[in-house]
Symmetry: C2
Amino acid sequence: MNYTRMSNEELIREKQALQNSYNEILGAKLSLDMSRGKPEKLQLDLSKEMLTVIDGNEACFSENGTDCRNYGIVDGIGEAKKLFGDILGVSPDNVIVGGNSSLNLMFDHLSRCMLFGVPGGNGPWCKNSKNKFLCPVPGYDRHFAVCETLGIEMINVPMTQNGPDMDIVEELVKDPDVRGIWCVPKFSNPDGTVYSDDTVRRFAKLEPASPDFIIMWDNAYCIHEIYEEEHPLLNIIDECAKAGNPDRAYVFTSTSKVTFPGAGVAAVASSVSNIKNILNVMKFQTIGHDKLNMLRHIKYFGNADGMRAYMKKHAEIMRPKFDMVLDTLSANLNDSGIATWSNPRGGYFVSLDVLEGCAKRTAKLCADAGVVLTGAGATFPYGIDPRDTNIRIAPSFASLADLETAMKVLCICAKLAAVEKLIKE
Amino acid sequence: MNYTRMSNEELIREKQALQNSYNEILGAKLSLDMSRGKPEKLQLDLSKEMLTVIDGNEACFSENGTDCRNYGIVDGIGEAKKLFGDILGVSPDNVIVGGNSSLNLMFDHLSRCMLFGVPGGNGPWCKNSKNKFLCPVPGYDRHFAVCETLGIEMINVPMTQNGPDMDIVEELVKDPDVRGIWCVPKFSNPDGTVYSDDTVRRFAKLEPASPDFIIMWDNAYCIHEIYEEEHPLLNIIDECAKAGNPDRAYVFTSTSKVTFPGAGVAAVASSVSNIKNILNVMKFQTIGHDKLNMLRHIKYFGNADGMRAYMKKHAEIMRPKFDMVLDTLSANLNDSGIATWSNPRGGYFVSLDVLEGCAKRTAKLCADAGVVLTGAGATFPYGIDPRDTNIRIAPSFASLADLETAMKVLCICAKLAAVEKLIKE
């Protein structure tokens, strides 16, 4: 039944039925969390063996004999650079391996832009009267928070099924205050989109007015396929080089959703020239990141193929959850006329668009019923979803049984909010 | 024999003798490193058990049940905050536990000052036409490098046996461009000085012209006694609070020289208000530092007393080295009239002052003979030792046998450089 075609009378009856269902849910006193892209315990348990793979003093040495317990090697041990290079399709020379957090690498990179500027650019961004960044929406709230913290004004760019709307991007970069763009190019957060080859090439060929323009390419889900088929992504660093813009893109990734979110290893990749420039500051920021943790990952996975093979275990835990989310949405909201959603093949999220003006109300109804979602609006800069329509579903943390309950609650709340909206007083 | 009282003829004869000794050393083709404060392998081997103390999935939980493998807790797990609080004499509420590097915490703190300013101050330092920092000399080259990288002008302050010359500090802070000072208050790098109670109190009571003024209190060697006796340091955070300047001091420390330099845990302590302000930015920089590594330290040491007791094992490795350095200096340079040196009771360094104008030449002679020292001048801002006199000796990394050789070489080189200087053409 399509709510948008119901008469007012039908809507009022439907509202009563939904309210009854909702009241039953309230009685169940739920406490379920679909708010963040956190792996569940079963996923963390998978990496148990990594905890003890460095089992004594003699296990602490890298391939070239470096004692990983001691100071030094700001760009990371060679085999870790190779591992991330292989995962990202670049040479080890294009890689810095950092600490446990790619967000930290991203924040620090934009901090460096603020304080020191970009090679070939117009100097420290903090000296500019205005700095703007393009933000494909819906997107990742922590990206937006970095910009907001640093005082970088954000401009929404709509997403399409092939990535950000490149017609709009090409237009917006004519503004000389626009210094860059955030991208999650594979299994984007939250809509699960994989950028098309054409999109990647158009990014590489962009002609921004600002010489500072950079692409913050957060490839967090680079090996996070959930179903069998592979989803190759064109290599942005190669494409930028081909297009004559070799220093444009900075690629970030981590093992936060491979081994441990709190104790993984993160990396940044870019042109050799950019990597040198980063190290020229980073070498004064730290004597070196945790090399023992790099070594743990190397000894545990062996190489990039080992890591890719291992990701299938994660996929087996994630797949039934994604199936559950998508099946529940289909069963409850198909043909309702009040919701559309993404159909991701990897990553950590499903993006749900409810009836315009109903996202906040839906999330509030869920919260009151004990089901916590990512805050409505969080997928937009400044927390403002102009159409109040987007809800990010994060299925990873809940058990399958809890997820089923939570999704049913969400569907009822989305319908109830929609009916409230559609009824004419 | 006091070189400064020798006749020119005696000096020429002595030079020939020293040159002969030096030529013998050249023939030995040495390769010895006294350049950095790196622990040697034996010290790293001490913490072997910590590597496997988290031995499976069930060992990954903190006291309050937090899964340390997963995301979250930007200020560190409670028991790690307590451990560092106990070591530094503050409440856990005054502590943030970070990643593996206190230098990183310091760099990031000054970056925040540049980008956001200091609570109660005049806004972002990057908007100021000039920023100055006081640097007690000789001091730590990596502190100076942070300032230089951030464009903060450095002003030398001479050290006394009680810490920085506070008469001079009190005078210099009347300059409204002076925004802070670097301090290594216990077993200072490189002279091993422990700041007196009076010095600490005068820091707390300083009346700087700039409301931005902060103290960067790098307590790297807080539990690094080498000999039996304890060297208590007055608590700067308490003293600042008593003096009505509760938000003045930021205290840094780490386990880099307790467990692993490359894989320890670092912390920053300050007033509760300052800690909140740091977290207000840090929470956008990272979702959390490596909690598993915090937990490793907790499980391995139990508590602060456990860590203190363990430091005696390090002292046993360090003590013969310091004895060797000091004995060799005494045996070779006592009454030479061309050198004075510190007599540290803890920390990682001995500070040697050779004849004025001879530090660079001495280091060069050593380097040519295969003995690498910290670069002469490195203990001063911009690498400029105005009197060219200071050499930092870092005895930790070399074996005792190598250290003996290296120290003998250093003494011959110091004498040779002095004699070259004293001979009148």
